[in-house]
């Protein structure tokens, strides 16, 4: 079944393809120039390419904001597997912009951080780093803009190898083992997703000129495969075992991309596929998925409370946050789906800030252990301030975008739950309250241990967060400020998402 878009807009120039290609080209340039240019130029190259990409996205974004579907003129019918196109609509808008903005800022953040890391590793490989970085990030943008499941899969593979290599080459601990764990798990996830699509015999999310594809398959087996495949990518509880390794041991700028951006794309794809391709059977999945979502939120949240390693802690928090995205998908009315997409953005900025702050502590204090922290608010006031906003973003406090995503999710939930009967209503309300309160508790407990209390750190004297780590400090502050600005400008993201969700994906009953 096809649902026509409210209206479409065919671009005259391939702005979407260019926005993906330009960062990739800059990555290639980096490796070609490799040792011939200085580290700063590498970083500038990457940052400028993302700035260009973002500029190119602005025009499509403004059109998509009005509820139109923007289609790139370069698209082709692929025999047997639909059509490959890049498109931007209200649902992909919050996701694509988050990917581009966070990739831009983290590309700057990378410079001081990787200087530190290369120094530890004893050898600089800026060309290779930025090649892998750009392939990884641009691949994500491509995946988000894909109109077709196979194309999505291909872009996902583009992200996978570079990100695994980044872990293996520049990560911490047993980085080869961790890189392989990451590679195997997430690749398996991608394959299961692909298998599900093959069984469903439907690949297009959106057909240029025709509309959205919904209710294309009612095969439960296919649905289960897709959910598990994307569930591994998004690390829902039970499928999350790879994540704490990868996100904790990756070099920190990469953690800041892996954790919010990449895993969230699994949830984003599940919007296109779940209430999209499997529209007709999705309501069967609602209640089990709801239980799974709250379980994921609680499981991740409880495990956060018992971690001592900051990066591992944040990794478990990401598991919990993916529970929020699944929560909206389970409910699947337009409010909740909008909530999921907004939460992608809220988590993107929030978790990037928090991983960024963890990186700042690694550079400035040389530690990841909570036992060494405490009382840092005094010496690291910018980092502490940004981190507070980061925690507010993931726990839904104003004035941050997180408040809105939580509000949409809860309103959507309530609308859905009143139809469930009083017992299920009571149970689901209890689970929701527990899960969301737990997020606040672990956030503020972690903040307390890291930044408040008596200082326990005797590792280094005379920390200066605006000295050697200026770029780190400023980039995480900027990310946090964007999270606040989006609180005020939420309509820019929420209204288009809500329009697509209610027209195309909303599952009633």
């Amino acid at each position: 079944m096809l649902v026509a878009a409210q209206s479409t807009w065919q671009l005259h120039l391939p702005l979407l393809w260019l926005s993906v290609a330009i960062p990739m080209v800059s990555g290639l340039l980096s490796i070609l120039l490799n040792y011939r240019i200085r580290d700063k130029l590498h970083a500038m190259l990457a940052a400028v390419s993302w700035l260009l990409s973002l500029t190119l996205l602005t025009y499509p974004a403004l059109i998509a904001r009005d509820g139109r579907v923007v289609v790139d003129p370069f698209w082709a019918k692929m025999p047997g597997i639909g059509s490959f196109a890049l498109f931007l609509d209200g649902a992909s808008l919050p996701v694509a912009l988050s990917v581009a903005v966070v990739s831009l800022i983290i590309s700057v953040y990378s410079l001081p951080y990787m200087r530190h890391r290369f120094h530890e590793l004893g050898g600089e490989q800026w060309g290779l780093y930025y090649l892998l970085y750009q392939l990884f990030t641009a691949g994500m943008l491509g995946a988000v803009l894909s109109s077709n499941g196979i194309l999505f899969y291909l872009f996902l593979e583009v992200t996978l190898l570079p990100s695994a290599l980044l872990i293996i080459l520049y990560g911490y601990g047993e980085r080869l083992r961790v890189g392989l764990i990451y590679l195997i798990w997430t690749h398996a996830g991608a394959i299961l997703f692909l298998l599900g699509l093959f069984l469903a015999k439907s690949f297009d999310f959106y057909v240029p000129g025709q509309g959205y594809v919904v209710d294309a398959s009612r095969s439960l087996l296919a649905l289960v495969l897709v959910i598990i495949g994307l569930g591994i990518k998004s690390a829902f509880a039970g499928l999350h075992f790879w994540l704490p390794y990868a996100h904790a041991e990756a070099p920190t700028p990469i953690s800041a991309l892996l954790s919010p951006l990449l895993i969230g794309i699994g949830g984003y794809a599940l919007v296109r596929v779940g209430p999209g391709l499997f529209h007709g059977v999705w309501h069967h999945a609602s209640w089990p998925l709801f239980l799974w979502a709250t379980l994921t939120m609680i499981y991740g949240g409880l495990l956060v409370l018992v971690q001592r390693d900051v990066k591992r802690l944040l990794a478990y928090s990401s598991v919990s946050q993916m529970g929020y995205m699944l929560f909206g998908l389970a409910v699947s009315n337009h409010e909740a789906l909008t909530g999921s997409l907004l939460h992608y953005a809220a988590h993107a900025y929030g978790k990037a800030v928090l991983f960024g702050a963890a990186g700042a502590l690694i550079v400035l204090l040389g530690t990841r252990s909570l036992d060494d922290m405490g009382g840092l608010a005094r010496s690291l006031s910018y980092t502490a301030g940004a981190s507070l906003l980061g925690f507010m973003l993931i726990s839904g406090l104003p004035p941050t975008l997180g408040l809105w995503s939580e509000l949409y999710l809860v309103f959507g939930y309530a609308k859905w739950a009143v139809g469930l009967g009083s017992m299920k209503f009571a149970l689901s309300a209890l689970l929701t309250i527990t899960a969301m309160t737990l997020t606040v508790i672990y956030s503020f407990q972690t903040y307390r241990v890291m930044f408040l209390g008596a200082p326990r750190n005797t590792l280094r004297e005379g920390i200066d967060e605006l000295g050697e780590a200026k770029a780190i400090t400023l980039s995480i502050t900027l990310l946090a400020v964007i999270g606040v600005l989006l609180f005020i400008l939420v309509a820019f993201l929420a209204e288009p998402a809500s329009r697509v969700a209610s027209r195309v994906y909303e599952v009633a009953g």
């Binding site: 409880l302 104003p398 004035p399 609308k415 739950a417 309250i433 008596a454 929420a494």
Partner: protein, 651 residues
Amino acid sequence: MDAYSLALAAVLSGYVASLLVILESLLRTGWRLQAWTGVAGVGVSAAASLLALISAEGGTVAGFDWLPSIGVKFALRVDLVSGIMGLLVAVISFLIAVYSVEYIGEWGAARYWVFYTFFVASMLLLVYADDLVTFFIGWEGTGLSSWALIGFYYDEREDAWVGDPGRRRLGVPMWFTPTHSALRAIAFTRLGDIAMLIGMGVAYAALGAVSLTILAEKGPLLAALVKGAGIIPLWLILFYMGALAKSAQFPFHEWLVTAMTGPTSVSALIHAATMVKAGVYYALRITPVIAPFLAAHALGAEAYSGLAWLSLITAFMTATMALVARELKLILAYSTASQLSYMLAAVFAAASHNDVGEGVLGGLAHLLSHAVFKASLFLVAGALIHELHSRYIDHMGGLRRFMPLSFISFMLASLSLAAIPPFSGWWSKDEAIEAISAMGHLASGVALVTALLTAAYTGRMLFLVFFNGYRGHVAHPHEPSWIMVAPYLVLGVASLAMGLTWPWIKTFLIHAVGVEAVKASPPIVLAGTIASVAGMGGTIAYYARKTGLPEASVLRAPTGVVAGFLYDRWLINSLIYRLIVYPGRNAAIALRRIDSAVDEAIHVFLPRIGVSMSAIVRRLQTGDVRDYLSYFMVGVILTALISALVVKLTG
């Protein structure tokens, strides 16, 4: 300017001041500029809120669409109730801001003033909000500021602790550091807030938007929905749970008690005069809108009377705790929880008897008078604690000689708290008890006993702090400077002045709330007055007999069974930790074990099996062709056998 713009200006000036203080701290200006920026911002709010009240007659609702897809508007409602509440909040905030300049001083000034102004703005936002999402934004903003300011002394200095270090009950520590208390506050209130958000979501599901205006217009639709879904009491409880948590109703009162780790100016503003009133205010605004529709379906009466009883129990329980407390701020905190419960009980009791107007009047009246006298009490307490370097009343005594102005302020406010005529508390408590009496004699009885206890602990506090011999360690305590004395003196005198002019105030309130005739029952007035006078007089007489109270007689925590039980807050805190917090922690630890066991199974054992399999296979590959030929033969034979079997079976 119209009422909407004035209210908006009152809100925005706080937010602007907050941003300015951030900017100033980035530019590293001196702390005085930051402090006075805060005071100025709040001062503008106060002026704007006064003008808003003046033009509030008739009520206006205005704003703009924020998120049309879920019906969210940024909408403010300026009517007499929000106008009065806004003025109260802004003026008290202003007075306390003036006090804070010197009280807070340099350490942490930027942080204090950022969150202080952010708080005032958020509080005014929720007061003026018509749209409940707008309301919720303000509401959460106050919660965030509350967290930040309770944990203001984040270096965990011992002066700021609550409770007796080393004391444990049921194995649970009974002393609390600032950042611990801050975490408790945000955890407790956030629990209620999510429940409230679900409750709002249900209203949204029925109406497509949630605001006071829409609830008033389309309430019957909502009543039909919750009735059809069979979730009436549950929904009401969720809808009010945020208010119960914010206004410190059992078992949420625990967060408020330990919130006293914050600077005393914060306790006065956030944890006595304003934020904790937000829950009451919510009930005041929401209940008259939804209760009639529920009553029309004969719904909700039981839930409302259940809520009223919860409040009455909280009122009584916290009053008994105040009787034995030794920390001055703790006595005031218990008292705050107890008085808030009066207000909520009044609203709920009246709602359960379909007479919500009277409850709103009682709740609002007591809210106003309590805000004024409790702020004064806290501000004096802050000055005393600061001066004497002790938070225990054991180290005070006889201070009327050293600090006469503080004494006068404290006494005026105390008499109001104890509900002695003609102070404002006497009038307003009576309004509240009148409303509670709708639930019958038992309820009025509990309310009156609580009034007696209130007067008793107030008398004890007043006596042990200001009368008798001085037991402190500071040689010559003296009054703080005028900038600190003036705010609490003004508030103390105001509580007397409000009492003297109460008949006019009441007429105005009746007009604001929009109730018609208000009955006053002489027996209740009489019983209340007797309870107050007896409670206060009796306690003072009891302590006055023990002239020259030796330090040792009050310096220890009580050892008796009953007194100890009250002193340890009815063991509620210990039970919460024993039943929820510790099991939660243990669950997390157990979960970590399970998580790492599965992790190990997948990432260690599974690969190990693979490795050993490969070892077996490798051993077979000897490189000797004769071996391979024999494997081949075995394979052929096995294949033949299996084929034969298959043919036979499928045959």
